[in-house]
Symmetry: C2
Subunit: 300 residues, 2 copies
């Protein structure tokens, strides 16, 4: 089983409006609700792939109840811990031209709630082969929170993937993840040098504690710097669509590959194909299964 | 007890942002949540006045749960019926200049749920002196829904106030409310003639079934056309502030006055003062108690 951790999940609302006009009132013509947050996208993709997955993390309030309901509706196994503060929402207003986003701040997690979650996570590890830690940390979770979870997973013989940014990424690398999956901007923020070439930037992440780095570079595809060598995979096709969630699909493929001990060369190609299939689908956490099959079922 | 009916309540969210820039993503710096909808504003004002009130209506989903929690937190007595579809949200994005609003559509109410509510409403009438019916009808409730409730209330000896607009107002007048409280735009929509003088427009509403009309005219104050004569009341002062909810405070005062059988001249003056005190308060459903006391505790 792959454990997908989302400490700061969200209820993602999309509002369709005719045209966004600041300082007026809009009737929303259609509302879509989904369980959001990077780790939940990873869980959703793994579930669609038929891969055993368990979503965990923190949920609070009526918004947390709604996220749990949506996960249950989609049949995604979940074992979240409750917190007193309410989970956040995001609102994306889509007016036919583009989206305008509003991101609520995350709920504040108490020290006791964090300790409770760490114990819960430890209890889930015996059933897991891979643990994926995705997204931002809500207020109150220590910046080294991911390092704590990574160390526990590694001690339990569970392989690990970290997909976050900023200080939680920097501090998390101290927990020695088996794999990190930054994009170019996240890696530049880590090195502090946007001019650095991709390979040198990846080496910087290795020096800070990562055991392997898979750098997602959009249309340039993936660059994997690993203990077994350097691998690249271009997208199978140039895909137009929705890049949101492509990184999470990439992480889902990497997690499945780590669990199956797939060789890097196949794993990176598979992750590039699943990312492209996610770009081809209109919403995060979903991929175009036909395109993915077409790109991966070919024999030379 | 005054029964305050809200068939289409909302969870009102206010998002503070630095500046609203269409087609970008905004971090929300502060979120406020309140139980919204005109009837809940009426209930909130009556509760703050110390007047026994019971809020009723329809609530559904996790959003409905949250609305119920917020009412309980404020100590407002409530007896809502559950529906399967989720209650709506409104989002107001405040950027320091002004608000930009997004109104979700209301939940669809089934025929069985509507029948269930009508029976529930009938069961609450024996404890009520006045029933206030406020706001829009959610999809699925028949357009003559308010007329049905008004007839039941009148049969039970309960006096009634209707505060809605458009077709629900027109159809509701057939239920012969003791009082309607349109604003000038709502009354113009009813008559179809924006050029009509206020008195003639009010007479039109009387001809359609209202027993009395209290027309709210903003800074011009209130015009009451009643079986006992015509009464006017100007605001006690010109008040700058937030007009949202002033109409609901006016209705709360009118409901309290109907319950106490206050003479029209005093009742209309009190409603004008409470409306102005609501303008002086920053959020709907709240009024400036000091200003209200100053304006009403004077003796000539």
């Amino acid at each position: 089983m792959i454990l997908a951790v989302t400490l700061n999940p969200a209820l993602d609302l999309t509002y369709a409006v005719d045209a966004l006009v600041p300082h007026t009132t809009h009737r929303v013509t259609a509302v879509t609700e989904r369980a959001g947050g990077k780790g939940l996208n990873v869980a959703s993709v793994l579930h669609a792939l038929g891969e055993p997955v368990l979503a965990t993390g923190l949920l609070g309030g009526a918004t947390g109840d709604r996220i749990a309901d949506l996960l249950a509706r989609d049949g995604i196994p979940a074992s979240f811990r409750r917190i007193a503060a309410g989970s956040r929402r995001t609102v994306a207003v889509a007016d036919g031209l583009d989206a305008t986003g509003f991101w609520e701040p995350g709920p504040t997690v108490t020290a006791g709630e964090w300790r409770d979650f760490v114990a819960h996570f430890r209890g889930l590890l015996p059933g897991a082969s891979v643990a994926v830690l995705s997204g931002s940390l809500p207020p109150g979770v220590p910046v080294e929170g991911y390092a704590t979870l990574l160390a526990l997973a590694t001690d339990a013989g569970v392989r690990t993937i970290l997909d976050t940014s900023g200080e939680p990424l920097r501090a998390g690398l101290g927990g020695r993840p088996d794999l990190v999956k930054p994009n170019a901007a996240e890696l530049a923020a880590l090195t502090g040098d946007p001019g650095l070439d991709a390979r040198s930037a990846a080496d910087h992440a290795l020096a800070l504690g990562a055991r392997a780095v898979v750098l997602s570079r959009g249309e340039l595809g993936l660059l994997a710097v690993t203990p077994d060598g350097v691998f690249e995979a271009a997208p199978p096709e140039t895909v137009a669509g929705n890049p949101t969630g492509a990184g999470d699909a990439c992480v889902a493929a990497l997690a499945r590959g780590l669990a199956a001990r797939t060789p890097w060369v196949s794993l990176v190609a598979d992750a590039a194909a699943l990312s492209a299939a996610a770009v081809a689908a209109p919403i995060a956490g979903v991929f175009d299964a036909d395109a993915y099959r077409r790109w991966t079922d070919t024999t030379p």
